[in-house]
């Protein structure tokens, strides 16, 4: 079983433990299905959530939950839609960055709208990247760089796509 991550063709051969785990948050069922497929195609393990509240619950930040250590969850990346009813992606980003346990997790915001003030706001709050929808395979490949396992610093050998 190839444990080297320098070859993208080894992506199908990575076992459960080695695949990065991405939490994808979007209120659109179509988009959840799409992002899930895009991510699994890049050899990621995916958990989807339909809104910010569910995402927080998964991360252990729900109301009344005691916070969990991310080493239990092993979420390597959060990708969230910006426009969602209830809690926006920006608000979710803030909550993650405010949490001492979870703030290290890179958060990528996606939106169908290219609004510079929105983009700046998210980046200032600590978003890793802001991407425009609809997402393509090439967009998701770029994200692999952010999905290094926590505690295993990137030594520059991570595949950044073909």
């Amino acid at each position: 079983m190839a444990s080297s991550s320098s070859s993208s063709s080894s992506s199908k051969g990575l076992d459960e433990e080695e695949r990065p785990h991405v939490l994808a948050v979007d209120d659109s069922l179509v988009d959840r299905k799409l992002i899930e497929r895009l991510l699994t195609n890049c050899a990621c393990k995916v958990t989807t959530a339909e809104n910010g509240q569910r995402a927080l619950e998964f991360l252990g930040l729900g109301d009344g939950q005691h916070t969990v250590d991310n080493s239990d969850l092993k979420v390597n990346l959060i990708i969230t839609d910006y426009c969602m009813p209830g809690m926006t992606g920006y608000e979710l980003l803030k909550k993650v960055k405010e949490s001492s346990n979870l703030r290290e997790i890179p958060v990528v915001i996606v939106s169908s709208e290219n609004v510079p003030t929105r983009i700046n706001k998210c980046l200032e709050e600590g978003a890793q990247e802001f991407m425009l929808k609809p997402l393509k395979q090439s967009d998701v490949k770029k994200l692999r760089y952010y999905m290094m396992r926590l505690g295993q610093p990137c030594n520059g050998m991570l595949c950044m796509g073909r």
Binding site: S28, L29, V30, D31, K33, L34, R37, L38, N41, C83, P85, S112, K133, P134, K136, Q137
Partner: protein, 151 residues
């Protein structure tokens, strides 16, 4: 019809959908995500799009039929429809939504009523054609042929 003829018919039909602007390159992205381990991916996503869209279009008609129109609600629905149509590459539906949102912003009732009709028209057009496309695809599969990839 032999497999070759079925494949040609399928390719031509698909090409025409792109030429007519019904589909854009995002649909190609979807097709590229389909493989042996996910052989029905496109049909699955498009089916979700159909369900979602019909719900939204019904909601839109209802909301626009109210005594006092909640334009924020209308805009939210159109935004959703724009998003999902964009995600599957249903270009003309997406474009109809872009125009629609402008009228929502202006709180222009007449404009919105025209737009919902336009959006419905475009939606049912692309739906019918996609269903035909999937049928043509099935005929190839049943005949034991391979579905031609997009060039």
């Amino acid at each position: 019809m032999d497999v070759g003829q079925l494949q040609t018919r399928f390719v031509d039909y698909r090409k025409s959908m792109f030429c007519e602007g019904l589909l854009d390159s995002q649909f190609i992205q979807l097709q590229q995500l389909q493989d042996e381990s996910n052989p029905d991916f496109v049909v699955e996503v498009v089916s979700l799009f159909f369900e979602d869209s019909e719900k939204l279009l019904n909601e839109l008609s209802k909301t626009l039929g109210q005594q006092t129109i909640d334009f924020k609600k209308v805009d939210a629905h159109v935004h959703q429809l724009k998003g999902s149509s964009s995600s599957i590459g249903a270009q003309r539906v997406k474009n109809a939504c872009i125009a629609f949102r402008n009228y929502c912003e202006e709180e222009n009732i007449e404009g919105c009523l025209r737009c919902v009709q336009q959006a419905k028209q475009e939606y049912f057009l692309v739906k019918g054609k996609l269903e035909t496309l999937f049928r043509l695809e099935q005929q190839i599969v049943v005949a034991g042929g391979v579905i031609p990839m997009v060039e």
